[in-house]
Symmetry: C2
């Protein structure tokens, strides 16, 4: 029996967010996918950065944000992700460790630089993400310590990192290692991987029984399954994943565990400032509750509270004392 020293380990993009406010005309002029995410080349990122307003830099990355949330909720968390040996990489590493998240992936000594995500927040609180993943997509199996995975109750894999070949291989290997050690594997979808070739790969992993807990918003789940009604989506996935968690934006969220569905409303928010990180923190809350052996309903509730906190301010990592808000 391997000692279970970690609650959760995540593999995901290691990215610094560059957050600026803007208006809808800027989003339209630059043909940005409002509310969504697009990948940019260096040249495109430089061009957009030059055009956008003054920004603040805050460490980000979807699963990394979830680990920030998990640590804030009192979990023993670790993160695996690729930064470069540069200033943004040092900022990312500092912020992870300052939160108490174990982060030991060695920095790349040569280019590309640490990844960044240019996030434009419109007055309605919606965020439009423009990601230049750079070093983040250079993650290899070799950079992932199998012992971290074996020692964690949950291994959490980020859909954004499913696209590039080497990180995908690292995540598949982590899922296999986790299952061989009788651990739980959670996977969060991202819009871009629910279409085309990538969809086949994700469905293959799900069909192979490698995913125990699957997160997605309603659009992603529909794209993935090809079903139009949420009921059909659940029906098509419930035999393949033990727990399916679907976020419904302002309408709340639901989860189906072995076909039994629980649904809750979103937690109230006085003012939605910036929706960046809503899904990441929802997953953090849900998984933290699961690690503490709470039932699905309590886990949805924990996810909703963590998500509500993060959308009430700029940046995708919690600022309030989540442990006080979510009693696990």
């Amino acid at each position: 029996m391997i000692p279970q020293s970690l609650d959760i380990v995540a593999i995901g993009d290691a990215i610094v967010d560059v957050i600026a406010t803007t208006d809808d005309s800027f989003i339209e002029k630059h043909r940005l996918p409002k509310g969504g995410m697009q990948l940019l080349t260096y040249e495109q990122a430089d061009e957009l950065y030059a055009a956008m307003g003054p920004a603040r830099e805050i460490s980000g990355g979807s699963a990394a944000n979830s680990m920030a949330g998990a640590a804030a909720l009192g979990l023993n968390a670790a993160f695996v992700g690729q930064v470069a040996d540069d200033q943004l990489g040092a900022i990312f590493a500092h912020d992870m460790r300052a939160l108490g998240v174990r982060f030991e992936t060695p920095a790349l000594k040569s280019p590309p630089p640490t990844g960044r995500c240019l996030i434009l927040v419109t007055p309605d609180g919606q965020r439009t993400m423009n990601t230049c993943p750079a070093a983040s997509h250079e993650l290899t199996v070799a950079a992932m310590d199998p012992e971290l995975v074996r020692s964690a109750t949950v291994t959490f894999l980020e859909g954004y990192l499913w696209g590039p070949e080497r990180p995908r291989a690292a995540m598949l290997e982590a899922a296999r290692i986790a299952h061989a050690a009788d651990r739980t594997v959670a996977f969060t979808l991202s819009e871009s991987l629910c279409i085309g070739d990538r969809r086949e790969g994700v469905l293959g992993m799900i069909d192979a029984g490698l995913v125990d807990i699957l997160f997605g918003n309603e659009h992603e789940i529909r794209h993935l399954t090809g079903c139009s009604s949420i009921e059909d989506c659940i029906a098509s996935l419930s035999s393949k994943v033990e727990t399916l968690v679907i976020t419904l934006g302002a309408a709340g969220s639901l989860a189906s565990k072995r076909g039994e569905v629980s649904q809750i409303a979103a937690a109230p928010v006085t003012k939605v400032v910036d929706t960046t990180g809503a899904g990441d923190l929802f997953a953090a809350g849900f998984l933290a509750a699961q690690c503490r052996n709470r039932d699905v309903f309590d886990s949805l509730h924990a996810g909703a509270i963590a998500a509500a906190e993060v959308i009430s301010h700029f940046g995708a990592r919690p600022e309030a004392d989540l442990k006080q808000l979510v009693n696990l």
Copy 2:
């Protein structure tokens, strides 16, 4: 006659702020100068950074913040300061230019890196600054374009940059160029330069008639003059600088122009979140009004409003539409 194309040009530290919240016990444990500023070596900065919590990075620098404010108030502003050719330098330059501030100082191609200021904000909103100036203190006369100074109504010099020899020489040269072109020179004191050798140098510059508008808080002005009452401070300086502006924190501010004193209360603030940049934005508002030929009373008022905006959120640069708040 040189064409007057700029309202204001500032020479100051080019620094990225690294802002984290903390509590008073952290300030005490690390013996930090609460509410003040200290200079750190690289080693000290690394040590403090490792100990402090997750942070957000926002471009800073005292006079650079003032230029951000001046641009937000509609002024045609420029900034001279030294960054390195690295990621933080690129962030600093982007944020200046995105605000419409002309910033053309060439980046250093070799070490040291771009300067940073580790700012710890306590629950009372006070900021404690720990600066590792690095490249910022490598500014030379050669990096300063005399035409910028000749073409600006006001040349604004930052006290923090008075310590190191080369930047001090650049600032003195700028003051001489400005006066030769019949322009106004403004200087803002910083705590650290009001004592010891540096005090003599500042008094020498003032005695030589190189400063037309002098900014300082009450402590700095007392240290500089050696007088204990504000009245005596004013008396000792009013024959040497045309306009003396003294900020009094929550008690407001006053200005003495050729001995005639105006005083106003601070602008109301619902909640003081982070006092970083209060003095910088006060100077921005005051100087912007002066550039628009407003009188001293109106200028104090503009300074108070700009300062009130910046202390109501994290970071030392305006987030609200200052032009709407201050009608110049």
